[in-house]
Protein backbone atom coordinates (compact mmCIF):
# COMPACT_ATOMS: atom_id res chain seq x y z
CA UNK A 1 0.00 0.00 0.00
CA UNK A 2 2.70 2.42 0.97
CA UNK A 3 4.47 1.48 -2.21
CA UNK A 4 1.45 2.46 -4.28
CA UNK A 5 1.19 5.74 -2.43
CA UNK A 6 4.85 6.51 -2.91
CA UNK A 7 4.43 5.66 -6.55
CA UNK A 8 1.47 8.00 -6.94
CA UNK A 9 3.31 10.76 -5.08
CA UNK A 10 6.11 10.38 -7.55
CA UNK A 11 3.79 10.55 -10.51
CA UNK A 12 2.02 13.65 -9.30
CA UNK A 13 5.20 15.69 -9.73
CA UNK A 14 4.27 18.84 -11.66
CA UNK A 15 6.45 17.88 -14.59
CA UNK A 16 5.07 14.39 -14.92
CA UNK A 17 1.60 15.65 -14.09
CA UNK A 18 1.71 18.11 -16.94
CA UNK A 19 3.29 15.75 -19.43
CA UNK A 20 0.77 13.08 -18.54
CA UNK A 21 -2.16 15.40 -19.05
CA UNK A 22 -0.83 16.36 -22.48
CA UNK A 23 -0.37 12.71 -23.35
CA UNK A 24 -3.86 11.93 -22.07
CA UNK A 25 -5.33 14.60 -24.31
CA UNK A 26 -3.39 13.29 -27.29
CA UNK A 27 -4.66 9.78 -26.64
CA UNK A 28 -8.24 11.03 -26.25
CA UNK A 29 -8.09 12.82 -29.57
CA UNK A 30 -6.26 10.10 -31.40
CA UNK A 31 -8.10 7.07 -29.97
CA UNK A 32 -11.43 8.80 -29.70
CA UNK A 33 -13.38 5.82 -31.07
CA UNK A 34 -12.08 3.77 -28.19
CA UNK A 35 -12.35 6.63 -25.71
CA UNK A 36 -16.02 7.13 -26.46
CA UNK A 37 -17.00 3.61 -25.47
CA UNK A 38 -19.37 3.44 -22.53
CA UNK A 39 -17.03 1.16 -20.66
CA UNK A 40 -14.27 3.77 -20.83
CA UNK A 41 -16.50 6.58 -19.57
CA UNK A 42 -17.92 4.69 -16.64
CA UNK A 43 -14.58 3.06 -16.08
CA UNK A 44 -12.91 6.44 -15.64
CA UNK A 45 -15.56 7.63 -13.21
CA UNK A 46 -15.30 4.36 -11.34
CA UNK A 47 -11.55 4.63 -11.21
CA UNK A 48 -11.75 8.17 -9.86
CA UNK A 49 -14.29 7.09 -7.26
CA UNK A 50 -12.05 4.24 -6.15
CA UNK A 51 -9.03 6.53 -6.10
CA UNK A 52 -10.72 9.11 -3.92
CA UNK A 53 -12.38 6.45 -1.77
CA UNK A 54 -9.08 4.75 -1.20
CA UNK A 55 -7.31 8.05 -0.70
CA UNK A 56 -9.65 9.09 2.08
CA UNK A 57 -8.08 6.45 4.29
CA UNK A 58 -4.85 8.38 4.12
CA UNK A 59 -4.53 11.17 6.61
CA UNK A 60 -2.59 13.60 4.43
CA UNK A 61 -4.87 13.03 1.49
CA UNK A 62 -7.95 13.52 3.63
CA UNK A 63 -6.60 16.77 5.01
CA UNK A 64 -6.57 18.49 1.65
CA UNK A 65 -9.49 16.80 -0.06
CA UNK A 66 -12.14 17.37 2.57
CA UNK A 67 -11.11 20.93 3.28
CA UNK A 68 -14.54 22.50 2.70
CA UNK A 69 -13.45 24.85 -0.05
CA UNK A 70 -11.71 22.03 -1.88
CA UNK A 71 -14.78 19.84 -2.10
CA UNK A 72 -16.07 21.67 -5.20
CA UNK A 73 -12.84 20.80 -6.99
CA UNK A 74 -13.34 17.14 -6.31
CA UNK A 75 -16.78 17.57 -7.87
CA UNK A 76 -15.20 19.52 -10.71
CA UNK A 77 -12.80 16.67 -11.48
CA UNK A 78 -15.66 14.21 -11.83
CA UNK A 79 -17.79 16.60 -13.85
CA UNK A 80 -15.04 17.66 -16.24
CA UNK A 81 -14.02 14.06 -16.86
CA UNK A 82 -17.61 13.04 -17.42
CA UNK A 83 -18.56 15.88 -19.73
CA UNK A 84 -15.37 15.63 -21.76
CA UNK A 85 -16.05 11.98 -22.30
CA UNK A 86 -19.70 12.64 -23.01
CA UNK A 87 -19.24 15.40 -25.58
CA UNK A 88 -16.54 13.46 -27.43
CA UNK A 89 -18.78 10.43 -27.44
CA UNK A 90 -21.70 12.39 -28.87
CA UNK A 91 -19.34 13.82 -31.50
CA UNK A 92 -18.06 10.39 -32.45
CA UNK A 93 -21.59 9.00 -32.72
CA UNK A 94 -22.59 11.86 -35.00
CA UNK A 95 -19.44 11.43 -37.07
CA UNK A 96 -20.42 7.82 -37.62
CA UNK A 97 -23.89 8.83 -38.71
CA UNK A 98 -22.49 11.40 -41.11
CA UNK A 99 -19.97 8.93 -42.50
CA UNK A 100 -22.82 6.52 -43.15
CA UNK A 101 -24.60 9.21 -45.15
CA UNK A 102 -27.10 10.10 -42.43
CA UNK A 103 -27.76 13.43 -40.77
CA UNK A 104 -26.49 14.15 -37.26
CA UNK A 105 -28.98 13.17 -34.60
CA UNK A 106 -29.86 16.81 -33.96
CA UNK A 107 -31.11 17.09 -37.53
CA UNK A 108 -33.10 13.91 -37.29
CA UNK A 109 -34.75 15.32 -34.18
CA UNK A 110 -35.62 18.70 -35.60
CA UNK A 111 -39.39 18.29 -35.54
CA UNK A 112 -40.96 20.64 -33.05
CA UNK A 113 -42.39 19.81 -29.65
CA UNK A 114 -44.36 21.89 -27.18
CA UNK A 115 -42.36 23.79 -24.60
CA UNK A 116 -45.20 23.05 -22.19
CA UNK A 117 -44.91 20.29 -21.06
CA UNK A 118 -41.72 18.95 -22.66
CA UNK A 119 -39.23 21.64 -21.71
CA UNK A 120 -40.94 23.17 -18.71
CA UNK A 121 -41.01 19.88 -16.88
CA UNK A 122 -37.40 19.06 -17.69
CA UNK A 123 -36.44 22.41 -16.27
CA UNK A 124 -38.57 21.89 -13.20
CA UNK A 125 -36.95 18.53 -12.50
CA UNK A 126 -33.44 19.91 -13.05
CA UNK A 127 -34.25 22.74 -10.71
CA UNK A 128 -35.58 20.47 -7.98
CA UNK A 129 -32.61 18.15 -8.25
CA UNK A 130 -30.24 21.09 -8.09
CA UNK A 131 -31.98 22.46 -5.02
CA UNK A 132 -31.93 19.07 -3.36
CA UNK A 133 -28.21 18.64 -3.99
CA UNK A 134 -27.50 22.11 -2.72
CA UNK A 135 -29.49 21.57 0.46
CA UNK A 136 -27.86 18.24 1.21
CA UNK A 137 -24.46 19.74 0.55
CA UNK A 138 -25.24 22.70 2.82
CA UNK A 139 -26.54 20.59 5.66
CA UNK A 140 -23.68 18.15 5.38
CA UNK A 141 -20.76 20.49 5.06
CA UNK A 142 -20.28 23.61 7.09
CA UNK A 143 -18.87 26.69 5.37
CA UNK A 144 -15.34 27.33 6.55
CA UNK A 145 -14.52 30.10 8.98
CA UNK A 146 -10.98 30.46 10.18
CA UNK A 147 -9.38 32.78 12.73
CA UNK A 148 -10.32 36.45 12.41
CA UNK A 149 -8.32 38.32 9.82
CA UNK A 150 -4.87 39.22 11.01
CA UNK A 151 -2.71 41.17 8.57
CA UNK A 152 0.37 40.40 10.65
CA UNK A 153 0.08 36.64 10.32
CA UNK A 154 0.56 35.29 6.81
CA UNK A 155 -0.61 31.71 6.44
CA UNK A 156 1.65 29.38 4.52
CA UNK A 157 0.66 28.56 1.85
CA UNK A 158 -1.44 31.60 0.97
CA UNK A 159 -3.73 30.56 -1.80
CA UNK A 160 -6.06 32.54 -4.02
CA UNK A 161 -9.63 31.20 -4.38
CA UNK A 162 -9.55 27.87 -6.18
CA UNK A 163 -10.75 29.12 -9.57
CA UNK A 164 -7.68 31.36 -9.78
CA UNK A 165 -5.18 28.69 -8.79
CA UNK A 166 -4.30 28.02 -12.41
CA UNK A 167 -3.13 31.62 -12.55
CA UNK A 168 -1.28 31.30 -9.27
CA UNK A 169 0.44 28.21 -10.63
CA UNK A 170 1.59 30.32 -13.59
CA UNK A 171 3.44 32.51 -11.10
CA UNK A 172 5.98 29.71 -10.82
CA UNK A 173 6.96 30.36 -14.41
CA UNK A 174 6.10 34.01 -15.01
CA UNK A 175 6.25 37.25 -13.10
CA UNK A 176 3.00 38.73 -11.80
CA UNK A 177 2.66 41.21 -14.63
CA UNK A 178 2.40 38.33 -17.07
CA UNK A 179 0.79 35.62 -14.95
CA UNK A 180 -1.59 37.92 -13.14
CA UNK A 181 -2.41 40.62 -15.64
CA UNK A 182 -1.38 40.12 -19.25
CA UNK A 183 -2.07 36.42 -19.70
CA UNK A 184 -5.46 36.45 -17.94
CA UNK A 185 -6.47 39.40 -20.12
CA UNK A 186 -5.36 37.43 -23.15
CA UNK A 187 -7.44 34.46 -22.03
CA UNK A 188 -10.49 36.71 -22.05
CA UNK A 189 -9.58 38.28 -25.37
CA UNK A 190 -8.82 34.87 -26.80
CA UNK A 191 -12.17 33.45 -25.74
CA UNK A 192 -13.95 36.43 -27.21
CA UNK A 193 -12.03 36.10 -30.46
CA UNK A 194 -13.02 32.47 -30.99
CA UNK A 195 -16.22 33.10 -33.00
CA UNK A 196 -14.45 35.62 -35.21
CA UNK A 197 -11.34 33.66 -36.07
CA UNK A 198 -13.03 30.31 -36.50
CA UNK A 199 -14.42 30.48 -40.02
CA UNK A 200 -15.23 26.81 -40.32
CA UNK A 201 -18.95 26.79 -41.16
CA UNK A 202 -19.33 23.13 -40.26
CA UNK A 203 -20.26 21.73 -36.89
CA UNK A 204 -22.64 24.57 -36.07
CA UNK A 205 -25.33 23.32 -33.76
CA UNK A 206 -24.44 19.66 -33.37
CA UNK A 207 -21.77 17.54 -31.75
CA UNK A 208 -19.00 16.45 -34.05
CA UNK A 209 -15.33 15.85 -33.81
CA UNK A 210 -14.20 15.08 -37.31
CA UNK A 211 -15.49 18.30 -38.81
CA UNK A 212 -13.73 20.48 -36.22
CA UNK A 213 -10.62 18.51 -35.28
CA UNK A 214 -8.23 21.43 -34.87
CA UNK A 215 -10.62 23.77 -33.09
CA UNK A 216 -11.69 21.18 -30.57
CA UNK A 217 -8.18 19.97 -29.90
CA UNK A 218 -6.89 23.48 -29.25
CA UNK A 219 -9.83 24.30 -27.02
CA UNK A 220 -9.46 21.09 -25.05
CA UNK A 221 -5.78 21.82 -24.63
CA UNK A 222 -6.60 25.18 -23.11
CA UNK A 223 -9.58 24.11 -21.05
CA UNK A 224 -8.39 20.73 -19.81
CA UNK A 225 -4.61 20.87 -19.75
CA UNK A 226 -3.85 24.52 -19.07
CA UNK A 227 -6.86 25.55 -17.03
CA UNK A 228 -8.53 22.63 -15.23
CA UNK A 229 -5.51 20.47 -14.58
CA UNK A 230 -3.46 23.40 -13.28
CA UNK A 231 -6.28 24.21 -10.88
CA UNK A 232 -6.20 20.66 -9.60
CA UNK A 233 -2.42 20.87 -9.34
CA UNK A 234 -2.54 24.20 -7.53
CA UNK A 235 -5.19 23.04 -5.09
CA UNK A 236 -4.10 19.57 -4.17
CA UNK A 237 -0.41 19.38 -4.92
CA UNK A 238 0.97 22.74 -3.82
CA UNK A 239 1.75 23.20 -0.15
CA UNK A 240 3.78 25.58 2.00
CA UNK A 241 6.01 27.94 0.01
CA UNK A 242 4.18 26.71 -3.06
CA UNK A 243 6.39 23.64 -2.96
CA UNK A 244 5.17 20.50 -4.60
CA UNK A 245 3.69 17.78 -2.42
CA UNK A 246 2.32 14.43 -3.57
CA UNK A 247 -1.29 13.71 -2.65
CA UNK A 248 -0.21 11.38 0.15
CA UNK A 249 2.64 13.52 1.38
CA UNK A 250 2.72 15.46 4.62
CA UNK A 251 2.78 19.25 4.09
CA UNK A 252 6.10 19.91 5.73
CA UNK A 253 6.82 23.63 6.08
CA UNK A 254 10.52 22.93 6.14
CA UNK A 255 10.64 21.07 2.87
CA UNK A 256 13.43 22.65 0.89
CA UNK A 257 13.64 22.66 -2.84
CA UNK A 258 16.97 23.72 -4.23
CA UNK A 259 16.60 26.83 -6.32
CA UNK A 260 19.19 26.67 -9.04
CA UNK A 261 17.44 28.68 -11.69
CA UNK A 262 19.52 30.87 -13.92
CA UNK A 263 18.82 33.72 -16.29
CA UNK A 264 19.33 33.43 -20.00
CA UNK A 265 21.89 36.25 -19.79
CA UNK A 266 23.92 34.21 -17.29
CA UNK A 267 23.75 31.24 -19.57
CA UNK A 268 25.04 33.05 -22.58
CA UNK A 269 27.48 35.62 -21.20
CA UNK A 270 28.97 33.73 -18.30
CA UNK A 271 28.67 30.08 -19.20
CA UNK A 272 28.97 30.14 -22.96
CA UNK A 273 31.09 33.19 -23.67
CA UNK A 274 33.04 33.08 -20.42
CA UNK A 275 32.64 36.81 -19.80
CA UNK A 276 31.31 38.84 -16.89
CA UNK A 277 27.77 40.21 -17.29
CA UNK A 278 27.80 43.49 -19.24
CA UNK A 279 26.91 46.58 -17.24
CA UNK A 280 24.20 48.01 -19.42
CA UNK A 281 20.90 46.17 -19.28
CA UNK A 282 20.34 46.30 -23.00
CA UNK A 283 23.59 44.61 -23.91
CA UNK A 284 23.16 42.17 -21.07
CA UNK A 285 19.71 41.12 -22.21
CA UNK A 286 20.14 41.51 -25.94
CA UNK A 287 19.95 37.78 -26.67
CA UNK A 288 16.78 37.36 -24.68
CA UNK A 289 15.24 40.37 -26.35
CA UNK A 290 16.07 38.97 -29.76
CA UNK A 291 14.58 35.62 -28.83
CA UNK A 292 11.41 37.20 -27.53
CA UNK A 293 11.01 39.39 -30.58
CA UNK A 294 11.58 36.37 -32.78
CA UNK A 295 8.87 34.53 -30.89
CA UNK A 296 6.26 37.21 -31.44
CA UNK A 297 7.38 38.73 -34.75
CA UNK A 298 9.23 36.10 -36.77
CA UNK A 299 7.37 32.97 -35.77
CA UNK A 300 3.91 34.09 -36.97
CA UNK A 301 4.99 34.75 -40.59
CA UNK A 302 6.90 31.48 -40.46
CA UNK A 303 3.75 29.73 -39.35
CA UNK A 304 1.88 31.47 -42.15
CA UNK A 305 4.34 29.95 -44.57
CA UNK A 306 4.13 26.51 -42.98
CA UNK A 307 0.37 26.47 -42.80
CA UNK A 308 -0.31 28.04 -46.19
CA UNK A 309 -3.68 26.35 -46.41
CA UNK A 310 -4.94 27.93 -43.19
CA UNK A 311 -3.44 31.25 -44.09
CA UNK A 312 -5.39 31.34 -47.30
CA UNK A 313 -8.58 30.10 -45.71
CA UNK A 314 -8.51 32.61 -42.87
CA UNK A 315 -6.99 35.66 -44.54
CA UNK A 316 -4.08 37.63 -43.11
CA UNK A 317 -5.78 39.37 -40.16
CA UNK A 318 -7.52 36.32 -38.81
CA UNK A 319 -4.46 34.18 -39.28
CA UNK A 320 -2.13 36.53 -37.45
CA UNK A 321 -4.55 37.13 -34.61
CA UNK A 322 -5.00 33.39 -34.21
CA UNK A 323 -1.28 32.72 -34.44
CA UNK A 324 -0.54 35.41 -31.88
CA UNK A 325 -3.12 34.15 -29.39
CA UNK A 326 -1.98 30.61 -29.94
CA UNK A 327 1.65 31.51 -29.33
CA UNK A 328 0.69 33.36 -26.16
CA UNK A 329 -1.13 30.26 -25.00
CA UNK A 330 1.89 28.13 -25.80
CA UNK A 331 4.20 30.49 -23.97
CA UNK A 332 3.24 28.77 -20.72
CA UNK A 333 4.23 25.24 -21.77
CA UNK A 334 7.32 26.68 -23.47
CA UNK A 335 8.36 28.37 -20.27
CA UNK A 336 7.60 25.23 -18.29
CA UNK A 337 9.73 23.06 -20.52
CA UNK A 338 12.69 25.45 -20.53
CA UNK A 339 12.46 25.63 -16.76
CA UNK A 340 12.41 21.89 -16.33
CA UNK A 341 15.09 21.13 -18.87
CA UNK A 342 17.48 24.08 -18.51
CA UNK A 343 16.50 25.54 -15.12
CA UNK A 344 15.88 28.74 -17.00
CA UNK A 345 14.38 31.47 -14.85
CA UNK A 346 13.92 34.43 -17.16
CA UNK A 347 14.48 34.85 -20.86
CA UNK A 348 14.67 38.59 -20.45
CA UNK A 349 15.40 39.94 -17.02
CA UNK A 350 15.45 43.68 -16.48
CA UNK A 351 14.66 44.14 -12.81
CA UNK A 352 15.46 47.83 -13.29
CA UNK A 353 12.05 48.17 -14.97
CA UNK A 354 10.25 45.27 -13.30
CA UNK A 355 10.42 43.71 -16.71
CA UNK A 356 11.05 39.98 -16.58
CA UNK A 357 9.85 37.45 -19.09
Amino acid sequence: MDLIKAFINLFADPRLFFVMSVVALAVIVWKRELFSKDAVGYGMLGFLAVFFGFGLFDENFRLIVVKPDNVPIVALIFLVVFFTWYSIREGVLNDRRIAAGDDPIEKQESDRVWVWPDLVYTELIALILCTAILIVWSVGLEAPLEQPANPANTPNPSKAPWYFLGLQEMLVYFDPWLAGVVLPSLIIVGLMAIPYVDTNPKGNGYYTFRERKVEITIFLFGFLVLWSSLIVLGTFLRGPNWNFFGPFEYWDIHKLEPLTNVQLSDFIWVRMLGQPLPEHWFIREVFGIILTLAYVAVLPPLLARMFRRYYEKLGATRFYVTAMLFLMMLSLPVKMLTRWIFNLKYVVSIPEFFFNI
Binding site: P72, A75, V113, V115, E146, P161, Y163, G205
Partner: protein, 271 residues
Protein backbone atom coordinates in the same frame (compact mmCIF):
# COMPACT_ATOMS: atom_id res chain seq x y z
CA UNK B 1 -93.82 2.22 -21.95
CA UNK B 2 -91.64 3.67 -19.30
CA UNK B 3 -90.08 6.99 -20.01
CA UNK B 4 -86.28 6.80 -20.29
CA UNK B 5 -84.58 9.62 -18.55
CA UNK B 6 -80.93 10.61 -18.87
CA UNK B 7 -79.49 11.07 -15.43
CA UNK B 8 -76.39 13.21 -15.09
CA UNK B 9 -73.95 11.36 -12.84
CA UNK B 10 -73.32 13.38 -9.76
CA UNK B 11 -69.90 15.01 -9.85
CA UNK B 12 -67.51 14.19 -7.06
CA UNK B 13 -67.05 16.72 -4.34
CA UNK B 14 -63.48 17.59 -5.22
CA UNK B 15 -64.36 18.15 -8.84
CA UNK B 16 -67.17 20.46 -7.84
CA UNK B 17 -64.91 22.39 -5.52
CA UNK B 18 -62.32 22.69 -8.27
CA UNK B 19 -64.91 23.90 -10.75
CA UNK B 20 -66.19 26.44 -8.32
CA UNK B 21 -62.70 27.63 -7.48
CA UNK B 22 -61.60 28.09 -11.07
CA UNK B 23 -64.66 30.16 -11.81
CA UNK B 24 -64.25 32.66 -9.02
CA UNK B 25 -63.26 36.14 -10.00
CA UNK B 26 -60.02 35.86 -8.06
CA UNK B 27 -58.90 32.77 -9.92
CA UNK B 28 -59.84 34.04 -13.35
CA UNK B 29 -58.10 37.31 -12.66
CA UNK B 30 -54.84 35.43 -12.13
CA UNK B 31 -55.07 32.67 -14.72
CA UNK B 32 -56.34 33.86 -18.04
CA UNK B 33 -56.96 30.47 -19.54
CA UNK B 34 -57.51 26.84 -18.66
CA UNK B 35 -54.72 24.42 -17.90
CA UNK B 36 -52.29 23.83 -20.79
CA UNK B 37 -53.66 20.45 -21.75
CA UNK B 38 -54.59 21.30 -25.31
CA UNK B 39 -52.63 23.03 -28.03
CA UNK B 40 -54.43 26.33 -27.79
CA UNK B 41 -53.73 26.66 -24.11
CA UNK B 42 -50.13 25.50 -24.53
CA UNK B 43 -49.65 28.54 -26.68
CA UNK B 44 -51.53 30.80 -24.31
CA UNK B 45 -49.59 29.76 -21.25
CA UNK B 46 -46.33 30.72 -22.91
CA UNK B 47 -47.63 34.04 -24.10
CA UNK B 48 -49.45 35.16 -20.98
CA UNK B 49 -46.92 34.26 -18.30
CA UNK B 50 -44.03 36.64 -17.94
CA UNK B 51 -41.65 34.00 -16.61
CA UNK B 52 -42.50 31.38 -19.18
CA UNK B 53 -42.39 33.80 -22.06
CA UNK B 54 -38.60 33.69 -21.97
CA UNK B 55 -39.25 30.45 -23.82
CA UNK B 56 -40.62 30.02 -27.29
CA UNK B 57 -43.92 28.19 -27.65
CA UNK B 58 -42.47 25.28 -29.49
CA UNK B 59 -38.96 24.02 -29.79
CA UNK B 60 -36.99 21.57 -31.86
CA UNK B 61 -36.91 18.24 -30.15
CA UNK B 62 -33.13 17.98 -29.87
CA UNK B 63 -33.02 21.33 -28.08
CA UNK B 64 -35.18 20.00 -25.28
CA UNK B 65 -32.90 17.08 -24.65
CA UNK B 66 -30.51 17.12 -21.73
CA UNK B 67 -28.03 15.41 -24.01
CA UNK B 68 -27.74 18.62 -26.02
CA UNK B 69 -27.71 21.49 -23.51
CA UNK B 70 -26.90 19.61 -20.28
CA UNK B 71 -29.24 22.27 -18.87
CA UNK B 72 -26.12 24.08 -17.75
CA UNK B 73 -27.22 27.56 -18.88
CA UNK B 74 -30.53 27.11 -17.13
CA UNK B 75 -28.86 25.87 -13.96
CA UNK B 76 -26.43 28.80 -13.99
CA UNK B 77 -29.39 31.12 -14.07
CA UNK B 78 -31.20 29.20 -11.37
CA UNK B 79 -28.14 29.25 -9.13
CA UNK B 80 -27.87 32.96 -9.70
CA UNK B 81 -31.43 33.34 -8.43
CA UNK B 82 -30.70 31.15 -5.41
CA UNK B 83 -27.64 33.27 -4.69
CA UNK B 84 -29.60 36.48 -4.97
CA UNK B 85 -32.18 35.20 -2.54
CA UNK B 86 -29.82 33.74 0.04
CA UNK B 87 -27.53 36.73 -0.34
CA UNK B 88 -30.40 39.03 0.49
CA UNK B 89 -31.05 37.08 3.68
CA UNK B 90 -27.39 37.26 4.59
CA UNK B 91 -27.45 41.02 4.16
CA UNK B 92 -29.92 41.26 7.03
CA UNK B 93 -27.25 40.01 9.41
CA UNK B 94 -24.00 41.17 8.03
CA UNK B 95 -22.31 44.55 8.49
CA UNK B 96 -19.26 45.26 6.35
CA UNK B 97 -16.98 46.87 8.91
CA UNK B 98 -13.81 45.67 10.55
CA UNK B 99 -15.60 45.73 13.87
CA UNK B 100 -18.58 43.56 12.96
CA UNK B 101 -17.89 41.57 9.82
CA UNK B 102 -16.29 38.55 11.44
CA UNK B 103 -18.48 38.46 14.51
CA UNK B 104 -21.62 38.75 12.40
CA UNK B 105 -20.59 35.63 10.54
CA UNK B 106 -19.90 33.86 13.83
CA UNK B 107 -23.28 35.00 15.08
CA UNK B 108 -24.91 33.78 11.93
CA UNK B 109 -23.42 30.37 12.47
CA UNK B 110 -24.27 30.16 16.15
CA UNK B 111 -27.54 31.92 16.71
CA UNK B 112 -29.63 31.51 13.59
CA UNK B 113 -31.83 28.43 13.77
CA UNK B 114 -31.46 26.09 10.79
CA UNK B 115 -28.80 28.44 9.59
CA UNK B 116 -27.75 27.02 6.29
CA UNK B 117 -28.09 30.28 4.40
CA UNK B 118 -24.38 30.90 4.49
CA UNK B 119 -23.69 27.36 3.31
CA UNK B 120 -26.29 27.62 0.54
CA UNK B 121 -24.73 30.87 -0.55
CA UNK B 122 -21.16 29.67 -0.49
CA UNK B 123 -21.68 26.26 -2.06
CA UNK B 124 -24.13 27.75 -4.52
CA UNK B 125 -21.44 30.20 -5.60
CA UNK B 126 -18.89 27.44 -6.12
CA UNK B 127 -21.49 25.46 -8.03
CA UNK B 128 -22.32 28.41 -10.23
CA UNK B 129 -18.69 28.86 -11.24
CA UNK B 130 -18.66 25.19 -12.25
CA UNK B 131 -21.96 25.27 -14.14
CA UNK B 132 -20.94 28.38 -16.05
CA UNK B 133 -17.70 26.70 -17.13
CA UNK B 134 -19.54 23.58 -18.19
CA UNK B 135 -22.10 25.70 -20.03
CA UNK B 136 -19.32 27.37 -21.96
CA UNK B 137 -17.77 23.99 -22.63
CA UNK B 138 -21.03 22.63 -24.06
CA UNK B 139 -21.59 25.76 -26.17
CA UNK B 140 -18.12 25.24 -27.59
CA UNK B 141 -18.55 21.54 -28.23
CA UNK B 142 -21.80 22.04 -30.16
CA UNK B 143 -20.24 24.87 -32.14
CA UNK B 144 -23.03 27.17 -30.96
CA UNK B 145 -20.82 30.24 -30.96
CA UNK B 146 -20.71 30.23 -34.74
CA UNK B 147 -22.74 32.75 -36.71
CA UNK B 148 -25.24 34.12 -35.91
CA UNK B 149 -24.40 33.62 -32.22
CA UNK B 150 -20.96 35.27 -32.04
CA UNK B 151 -22.23 38.22 -30.06
CA UNK B 152 -24.01 36.08 -27.52
CA UNK B 153 -20.83 34.11 -26.95
CA UNK B 154 -19.15 37.39 -26.14
CA UNK B 155 -21.84 38.39 -23.70
CA UNK B 156 -21.24 34.97 -22.19
CA UNK B 157 -17.51 35.52 -21.81
CA UNK B 158 -18.18 38.79 -19.98
CA UNK B 159 -20.64 37.05 -17.69
CA UNK B 160 -18.06 34.36 -17.02
CA UNK B 161 -15.63 37.03 -15.87
CA UNK B 162 -18.33 38.68 -13.79
CA UNK B 163 -19.22 35.36 -12.19
CA UNK B 164 -15.60 34.94 -11.13
CA UNK B 165 -15.44 38.50 -9.85
CA UNK B 166 -18.65 38.03 -7.87
CA UNK B 167 -17.16 34.96 -6.30
CA UNK B 168 -13.90 36.75 -5.63
CA UNK B 169 -15.46 39.81 -4.01
CA UNK B 170 -17.67 37.61 -1.85
CA UNK B 171 -14.69 35.61 -0.65
CA UNK B 172 -13.44 38.59 1.35
CA UNK B 173 -16.58 39.33 3.29
CA UNK B 174 -16.29 36.80 6.17
CA UNK B 175 -13.10 38.65 7.10
CA UNK B 176 -11.23 35.64 8.38
CA UNK B 177 -7.69 34.54 7.60
CA UNK B 178 -8.84 32.56 4.59
CA UNK B 179 -10.57 35.61 3.20
CA UNK B 180 -8.01 38.35 3.53
CA UNK B 181 -5.09 36.27 2.43
CA UNK B 182 -6.83 34.89 -0.62
CA UNK B 183 -7.74 38.43 -1.62
CA UNK B 184 -4.25 39.65 -0.80
CA UNK B 185 -2.70 37.02 -3.06
CA UNK B 186 -5.22 37.78 -5.78
CA UNK B 187 -5.01 41.53 -5.64
CA UNK B 188 -1.22 41.64 -5.36
CA UNK B 189 -1.24 40.89 -9.05
CA UNK B 190 -2.67 44.31 -9.75
CA UNK B 191 0.49 45.81 -8.36
CA UNK B 192 2.29 44.49 -11.43
CA UNK B 193 -0.11 45.85 -14.03
CA UNK B 194 1.98 47.26 -16.86
CA UNK B 195 2.04 51.06 -16.58
CA UNK B 196 -0.78 51.19 -14.02
CA UNK B 197 0.73 49.21 -11.16
CA UNK B 198 3.55 50.64 -9.11
CA UNK B 199 5.62 47.50 -9.60
CA UNK B 200 4.58 46.99 -13.17
CA UNK B 201 6.83 47.36 -16.17
CA UNK B 202 6.64 50.82 -17.65
CA UNK B 203 5.15 52.50 -14.60
CA UNK B 204 8.43 54.27 -13.96
CA UNK B 205 8.12 55.93 -17.35
CA UNK B 206 4.97 57.72 -16.29
CA UNK B 207 6.49 60.64 -14.50
CA UNK B 208 6.25 64.40 -14.71
CA UNK B 209 9.80 65.55 -14.19
CA UNK B 210 10.74 64.05 -10.85
CA UNK B 211 7.21 63.29 -9.77
CA UNK B 212 6.16 59.67 -10.15
CA UNK B 213 2.60 59.50 -11.39
CA UNK B 214 2.15 55.88 -10.40
CA UNK B 215 2.96 54.89 -6.84
CA UNK B 216 1.58 52.54 -4.20
CA UNK B 217 -1.14 54.97 -3.18
CA UNK B 218 -2.71 55.55 -6.57
CA UNK B 219 -2.06 52.52 -8.75
CA UNK B 220 -4.39 49.83 -10.06
CA UNK B 221 -4.19 47.88 -6.83
CA UNK B 222 -5.11 50.93 -4.82
CA UNK B 223 -8.15 51.44 -6.99
CA UNK B 224 -9.19 47.85 -6.37
CA UNK B 225 -8.65 47.87 -2.63
CA UNK B 226 -9.37 51.45 -1.72
CA UNK B 227 -6.11 51.40 0.19
CA UNK B 228 -2.59 50.07 0.07
CA UNK B 229 -3.51 46.82 1.81
CA UNK B 230 -6.60 44.67 2.31
CA UNK B 231 -8.31 46.70 5.00
CA UNK B 232 -11.41 48.68 5.78
CA UNK B 233 -11.57 50.34 2.37
CA UNK B 234 -11.27 47.03 0.56
CA UNK B 235 -14.00 45.48 2.68
CA UNK B 236 -16.47 48.23 1.88
CA UNK B 237 -15.54 48.32 -1.78
CA UNK B 238 -15.86 44.58 -2.20
CA UNK B 239 -19.13 44.59 -0.28
CA UNK B 240 -20.71 47.21 -2.49
CA UNK B 241 -19.48 45.54 -5.66
CA UNK B 242 -20.55 42.14 -4.44
CA UNK B 243 -24.03 43.06 -3.28
CA UNK B 244 -24.98 45.78 -5.71
CA UNK B 245 -22.63 46.60 -8.54
CA UNK B 246 -21.75 43.25 -10.06
CA UNK B 247 -25.19 41.61 -9.60
CA UNK B 248 -26.80 44.54 -11.37
CA UNK B 249 -24.45 44.29 -14.30
CA UNK B 250 -24.67 40.53 -14.62
CA UNK B 251 -28.45 40.63 -14.27
CA UNK B 252 -28.64 43.16 -17.05
CA UNK B 253 -26.37 41.05 -19.25
CA UNK B 254 -28.44 37.94 -18.55
CA UNK B 255 -31.48 39.73 -19.91
CA UNK B 256 -29.52 40.55 -23.05
CA UNK B 257 -28.18 36.98 -23.21
CA UNK B 258 -31.62 35.36 -23.04
CA UNK B 259 -33.10 37.84 -25.46
CA UNK B 260 -30.35 37.09 -27.91
CA UNK B 261 -30.78 33.33 -27.56
CA UNK B 262 -34.33 33.86 -28.85
CA UNK B 263 -33.44 36.44 -31.46
CA UNK B 264 -30.62 34.36 -32.88
CA UNK B 265 -33.14 31.71 -33.78
CA UNK B 266 -33.61 29.85 -30.53
CA UNK B 267 -31.37 27.08 -29.35
CA UNK B 268 -28.80 26.23 -31.99
CA UNK B 269 -29.18 23.25 -34.25
CA UNK B 270 -27.95 21.99 -37.59
CA UNK B 271 -28.93 24.36 -40.35
Amino acid sequence: MAQTETVQPKEALLVRCWNWLTETQIWTSVFRHAAPINDRNRVLVMLSNVFLHLHPVRLKKHGVRLRYTWCMGGLSFFLFLVLTFTGLLLMFYYRPTLEYAYSDIVGLREHVPLGIMREMHRWGAHAMVITVWLHMFRVFMTGSYKPPREFNWNIGVIMLVLTLLLSFTGYLLPWDQLAIWAITVGSNMARATPFLGHEGPGAALLALGDVQLIHAADDARFALLGGTFVGEGALLRFYVLHCVGLPLVIGFLMAVHFWRVRKDGGISGPL
